[in-house]
């Protein structure tokens, strides 16, 4: 069980209240978590990662366990606490603009 927290504007888009809980089979990575998230909420495709390159959009950041994972490799394993559901995986809108 993976817990994911989305920024408010994406929660509104996907009509989500609170955290998202996902089942991710196999290795728990940023890529596999985002794949599972987008499979359940297709309207989020293109809003977190670019449709084509699958790279993180410039003003979106990823955090977990008080660490900034934004520049980690997408296929690197997420922390054990995230994989175990003890800590959430945070998708954050960068503090920029108004």
């Amino acid at each position: 069980m993976i817990r994911v927290v989305l920024p408010a504007h994406l929660r509104r888009l996907a009509r989500i209240d609170g955290e998202v809980v996902l089942d991710v089979s196999g290795k728990v990575t940023q890529c596999s978590v985002l794949d599972a998230l987008e499979a359940r909420y297709p309207m989020l495709r293109g809003t977190i990662r670019d449709h084509h390159t699958m790279r993180r959009r410039a003003f979106i950041r990823f955090f977990a366990c008080e660490e900034d994972l934004s520049h980690d490799q997408p296929d690197a394993p997420l922390p054990d606490a995230v994989a175990a559901g003890a800590e959430p995986y945070l998708i954050v809108g960068a503090m920029a603009g108004g």
């Binding site: 994406l10 888009l13 003003f59």
Partner: protein, 371 residues
Amino acid sequence: MSGVRALVGTRKGAFVLSSDGNRRDWNISGPYFSGWEIYHMKGSPADPDRLYASQSSGWSGQVIQRSDDGGATWEPVGNQFSYDGTPGTHQWYDGTPHPWEFARVWHLEPSLDDPDTVFAGVEDAGLFKSTDGGTSWHELPGLRGHRSGSSWQPGAGGMCLHTIILDPAEPNRMFAAISAAGAFRSDDAGQTWRPVNRGLQSEGIPDPDAEVGHCVHRIAMHPLRPAVLYMQKHWDVMRSDDAGESWHEISGNLPTDFGFPIDVHAHEPETIYVVPITSDSEHFPPDGKLRVYRSRTGGDDWEPLTSGLPQQHCYVNVLRDAMAVDSLDTCGIYFGTTGGQVYASADAGDNWSPIVRDLPAVLSVEVQTLS
């Protein structure tokens, strides 16, 4: 009883304003998609309950929303806008080649007869089409692929395709306008395009016959007279009587011919409206007086319309897609401002009153006349 519905896009969400045919009492619903920029919303002429909205943000990119019940409920549809083939480059501000990059949808133009068909004008300038209600999009590459495409440059607001006009008399003819490339026409349903900018004179372009490079802000057409086009250019208000083949200036006695929107009375093809703005560096009305100017002669001879509009200390702007008309017997005119006001006139511009005063900055206004 007949009524009207105004679709208002703002910097922080969408609003739907509705009234009966008297246009005195308004119901205001929204914000929809709060916190997101809504560059444009428009209803299908073939099915007024089918609406499309362009929702975007710097953080999360582009979303297209669709309503099938007149704006009561919305569903996100397709948001994948991929340029056809290898995108290539256009000119950047400094004259160097710059890759074509999708930023957002500026304008949505539903088909005149099919609710599931809709065109999207995007930044960086390109034209896309959906035939499945916005679920999937494909580029009409003939426009961006015109031999002049690699020389197009962005205007101050980005290189946006902001105007799409479908000719009701000739189904294969359409017009598009790009800032700052100019006006283009297709006579084969968007497959191939050619610039139609003869007669435009633009400061900073030394060649008086320059095929492209003109900062067209908006083009309007009356459906009963599709060969007549009106244009608000960066500077200059222009007119074409031959479907864009040539243009001549009709700024006449305007206090300034800089501005963004231009529109045509629903029943009088020679009655047109603009909102003069002080200059390209001062995007507010001259002397702090918000005045719509109306010409009943197809241009050149203009009268200020001031009744009900602020005539002191007003320093708002009216953006290119933020003016619209209804087609009730006494034509209604509407516009929204960057100060968040939406003004309406139920008597063709003689008298104005605000429908709402304190929305976020208004990006677009479209009006549907409902039977």
